[in-house]
């Protein structure tokens, strides 16, 4: 089995050299792919210099993490794909190997990484409550939004990628629905910069959208459901006229 490592990037010149070098040290690695979101710094140049295959994501929009992840999967030739955030400061080959191990052993087809850090705010306040409502069977995942994942390449061709930040939770739901064998693996302590609360607004919006679109697709939302649940949040100003749409 061969491994393709994929890094979505945008203006990450200070991380790219170390990340690509580390990825090339991983056992069974065939290629390292950097899918860039239109960097204005030296990210692309440095990635090429380190031997990575570089392509710019197909969409002109940014952030388009999902598009970058999809493009990485489409370019990859390895049997296993590993995605890792490029800005992990303490990245070692062990991170990759822990993610790949259940796939190599045949224990799983898709691996979700989790790490020793308090879960993010979008995870706790948006993703987990919505998953508990609509997909309780996958609410057990500690970090459903983790960008550290691995899976069999062919599996990624069977699902649609959300274009933005909703991609990670979207993949988790869709692969679960597809019947893929999914496990969560602790990859250890992850040292990386946390986003500011303000920067998380768009992310929260896209994550909620990704889950709700799937809930509608999977017939988990209907008018009766909305009435039942939204009665409980009537004290919050939803911008709706009083009583409109709800008995």
């Amino acid at each position: 089995m061969e491994i393709s490592v994929i890094f979505p990037t945008k203006d990450r010149e200070c991380y790219v050299k170390r990340a690509v070098r580390t990825a090339f040290k991983v056992k069974l690695v065939r290629e390292v792919i950097v899918v860039d979101g239109g960097s204005r710094d030296r990210t692309v140049k440095l990635a090429k210099k380190e031997g990575a295959e570089v392509i710019v994501q197909s969409d002109l929009i940014y952030p388009g993490k999902g598009v970058a992840m999809r493009d990485g999967a489409y370019l990859a030739r390895g049997d296993i794909l590993i995605y890792l955030d490029i800005d992990i400061k303490n990245m070692t080959p062990k991170f990759f190997e822990k993610l790949a191990e259940p796939l190599i052993n045949g224990e799983a087809e898709f691996v979700k990484g989790c790490f020793e850090r308090a879960s993010g705010r979008v995870t706790e306040l948006v993703a987990k409550p919505l998953l508990r409502m609509f997909y309780p069977e996958i609410a057990r995942f500690k970090q459903p939004l983790s960008g550290e994942i691995a899976g069999l390449r062919k599996l990624f061709y069977k699902v649609d990628f959300e274009r933005g930040w909703g991609v990670d939770v979207g993949l988790l739901i869709d692969l679960y629905k597809l019947g893929a064998r999914i496990v969560e693996r602790d990859i250890g302590y992850k040292d990386h910069d946390m986003k500011s609360l303000h920067a998380l607004t768009d992310m929260a919006y896209e994550v909620a959208g990704a889950i709700l679109r799937r809930a509608i697709r999977d017939w988990k939302i209907d008018i009766q459901w909305a009435e039942k649940y939204l009665k409980g949040v009537r004290t919050i100003d939803l911008g709706l006229e009083s009583g409109a749409g709800f008995a």
Partner: protein, 217 residues
């Protein structure tokens, strides 16, 4: 001609219609990997053979049918897939490999991969804007096949004129048309005047020399 068109989005639809116009008796095969799109493509392009293939199967299709395919046009919505299939087409010595890219930033990457023909659908936007807004120089067309270049130059500098006229009178392989400020079209170099626009078409190296003169001024 037997053309294999990969993709079922906007670019592919434009390409399919263009191929039909250019080569009405040719054989057009469209490959799409989204099963829902295949029926729509069949209805839209009844003159084409439309095939549904998985992403990984398309490479095998190119390999198996390479000897009878004259041209491969990759026009999927992912530049990664476009690059992947172009590489296979090149490896299998398909006479013509053409890619319609999605993100202009990938042009250089495809160029370095030596993809013979790369179409950037967005490249007309700066050209049209330069023409409408009256840019000093504007490259209107550069042939990827013949090294022919067509440009337009704004005549805004009196000192530029004699130098340009001297250069053009020595360049018999460059054709020129001048459009005056009032919109009159003139074909003689002697009629070139200030404020109008000069249109040139000719060999790239000749036109590049003219552009260098303009930039110096």
């Amino acid at each position: 001609m037997r053309t294999l068109l990969i993709g079922g989005g906007h670019s592919a639809c434009f390409a399919a219609n263009a191929i039909r116009e250019i080569d009405p008796k040719g054989k057009l095969i469209i490959i799409e990997f989204t099963s829902e799109k295949v029926d729509a493509l069949l209805r839209t392009f009844p003159f084409a053979e439309v095939i549904h293939q998985e992403i990984d199967e398309i490479e095998n299709y190119i390999r198996s049918n390479g000897s009878i395919i004259d041209a491969v046009i990759t026009a999927t919505e992912s530049d990664s897939l476009n690059l992947r299939y172009c590489r296979i087409a090149k490896e299998n010595a398909i006479p013509l490999t053409i890619s319609i890219i999605n993100n202009p930033l990938n042009y250089e990457i495809f160029l370095k991969e030596e993809i013979p023909y790369i179409i950037n659908p967005y490249h007309l936007i700066p050209i049209e804007l330069s023409e409408i807004l009256g840019a000093a120089t504007n490259v209107l067309y550069e042939s990827q096949k013949t090294r022919v270049l067509a440009v337009s130059i704004k005549i805004s500098n009196g000192r530029l004129l004699p130098e340009l006229m001297k250069e053009l009178s020595q360049s018999r392989d460059v054709s020129a048309i001048f459009v005056s400020q009032s919109g009159e079209i003139k074909t003689s170099i002697e009629e070139v005047g200030l404020g109008g626009r000069l249109y040139l078409i000719g060999p790239k190296e000749r036109i590049d020399k003219v552009l260098r003169i303009v930039k110096r001024r």
